[in-house]
């Protein structure tokens, strides 16, 4: 064997995007191979399989995985079979002006490549005891709803789907939805006004014991929540899947004292607490870096946190004894953490 023959061909895109080294799979994460790719419009669907050919861990319908994509970690809902699946299926909307994760999946990732992903995480699970499921999706927010429909069909649960989308977009997920729904076809709406009218109509006439699941653009989820609340739906019946957070203001500077080491760090405006901790080489686990996943929770021992996350419950916020350090800051000039 000659030296020339052993040289690997240079793969394209390596210069443009940082790629995680193959050995650096996080503890407990899965290394998956891209077994299939299909693109329809701005949505690219991936079929991810295990390297050994074994089935992958089962998951609760509505679960998502966190994928390392071009140096970013993005969360994507699992749309396929949830019981001993032979593959995890995700659908990725191209966000051209985003942070680059979806662009990398669209432009760089190819069949046969490997990527690392978290095990499935459930934060949007169906309610087994509910009398009826009202599933509302907007745009690419259809992805977790697909797996809810699968579960409802499998377990013969009562459900209905209201899907708001642009007529030309999400053609592939829509076809999958229509196929899954069978005789119980989704109600399709194509404008905000149409969605509002449909929601007012449907949410005013659901049997006691129904639950509402909503996934879609932030403004659409908020509008749905508002309509449901006006019609008397208690918050406990409304389940919202949040993947995106609004851009946060840079916030005021404050000081953090680490109670175990006694160190003090100044957190300037525009720098997150997590970034400052990383800069000081204080390891904190994290995943989403936008206040959604709950991974970077840190115990607070003094000072009042300014909560800006979507993870903590109202009671946990009021208790003030923990903080999601990726987005949250401090009301007081000094915050003491149990680190």
């Amino acid at each position: 064997m000659t030296a020339a023959g052993a040289q690997a061909p240079a793969s394209r895109g390596e210069a443009a995007y940082p790629r995680a080294p193959r050995t650096a799979v996080r503890e407990g994460w899965l290394l998956l191979r891209v077994a299939g790719v299909s693109t329809a419009g701005r949505v690219r669907s991936l079929r991810l399989v295990s390297l050994t050919g074994d089935t992958l861990p089962s998951f609760t319908p509505g679960s998502h995985i966190v994928v390392e994509a071009g140096g970013r970690t993005n969360a994507y809902s699992l749309t396929g079979d949830f019981l001993e699946p032979t593959a995890y299926e995700i659908s990725v909307l191209l966000i051209a002006d985003g942070q680059g994760g979806s662009r990398w999946i669209h432009d760089e990732l190819e069949v046969g490549e490997e990527l690392s992903a978290s095990p499935p995480r459930s934060a949007f699970a169906p309610v087994a005891s509910a009398r009826h499921h009202v599933l509302v999706a907007g745009g690419i927010g259809i992805t977790p709803i697909l797996s809810h429909v699968r579960a409802a069909r499998l377990y013969r649960r009562s459900f209905e789907v209201i899907y708001a989308h642009r007529p030309d977009a999400q053609a592939a997920p829509l076809r999958e939805l229509q196929a899954l729904c069978g005789s119980n076809q989704p109600e399709l709406v194509h404008s905000r006004a149409e969605l509002t009218a449909t929601l007012r109509n449907r949410l005013s006439d659901q049997p006691l014991g129904s639950v509402l699941f909503v996934c879609g653009p932030r403004s659409m989820m908020e509008a749905t929540e508002t309509i449901a609340t006006e019609l008397g739906w208690p918050a406990e019946r409304i389940h919202i899947e949040r993947f995106s957070t609004a851009a946060l203001d840079p916030g005021n500077p404050f000081t953090v004292r680490l109670s175990r080491s006694g160190r003090q760090l100044l957190i300037p405006s525009g720098v997150s607490l997590l970034e400052a901790l990383e800069g000081a080489e204080v390891p904190v686990p994290y995943l989403c870096r936008r206040g959604v996943c709950g991974e970077c929770r840190v115990a607070v021992t003094a000072g009042r946190p300014e909560h800006r996350d979507l993870f903590l419950t109202d009671e946990e916020r009021a208790a003030g004894d923990s903080v999601m350090c990726c987005v949250s800051r401090a009301h007081d000039p000094l915050l003491e953490l149990d680190l």
């Binding site: 005013s204 006691l208 129904s210 019609l231 008397g232 208690p234 019946r237």
Partner: protein, 174 residues
């Protein structure tokens, strides 16, 4: 029998009647007895002045009629309905049981207990329920099997009864 509040499912009813939940879109109000009626009238006047749909039912006598009447409405109830009950504890537990089995969650139900005293005790040995004037820690003869049951500090949400068990099982028969 003293037991920490954290370690019992015996309900601790507030002294004052709860307010009407203003977020409801329609209301079912059930009451029993004069004290229950007085509380229910306060609720219904609030609901009527908010111009919300309302169904009320009042019982003056004994028996399970209030739950029977309510069940029919619960079967047809829509999300947005709130249920309010003002009655002796035994009736309140019956209403809560019916309301939960119809799919309601705690956020949709508010209760006021006008008196305690009559309690239903479940016998796990013969599965009979015995109703009598009892306190937690008292003993009672099971109506099904005549075993001596102690009224334990556990209340089942599912069947609205206190848990009992044979208290003298270790003693030689007389």
């Amino acid at each position: 029998m003293t037991v920490s509040a954290d370690h019992t499912s015996v309900p601790r009813w507030p002294d004052e009647p709860p307010d009407v939940d203003p977020t409801g879109s329609s209301y079912l109000v059930v009451s029993r007895g004069d004290a229950g009626r007085a509380v229910a009238l306060g609720w219904t006047s609030t609901i009527v002045s908010a111009a919300k749909p309302l169904w009320t039912h009042h019982e003056s006598g004994e028996g399970p009629a209030s739950v029977d009447a309510l069940s029919w409405h619960l079967a047809a109830a829509r999300v947005g309905t709130r249920v309010m009950v003002a009655a002796p504890e035994l009736d309140v537990l019956d209403v809560l049981r019916a309301v939960r089995s119809a799919g309601a969650i705690d956020a949709e139900v508010r209760a006021h207990v006008t008196q305690t005293g009559d309690r239903r005790v479940y016998c796990p040995h013969c599965r009979t329920h015995t109703v009598a004037h009892l306190e937690v820690g008292d003993t009672v003869a099971c109506e099904g099997c005549r075993r001596t049951l102690i009224v334990y500090h556990h209340v089942s949400r599912l069947n609205g009864s206190y848990f009992g068990y044979m208290v003298d099982a270790e003693e030689p028969a007389a």
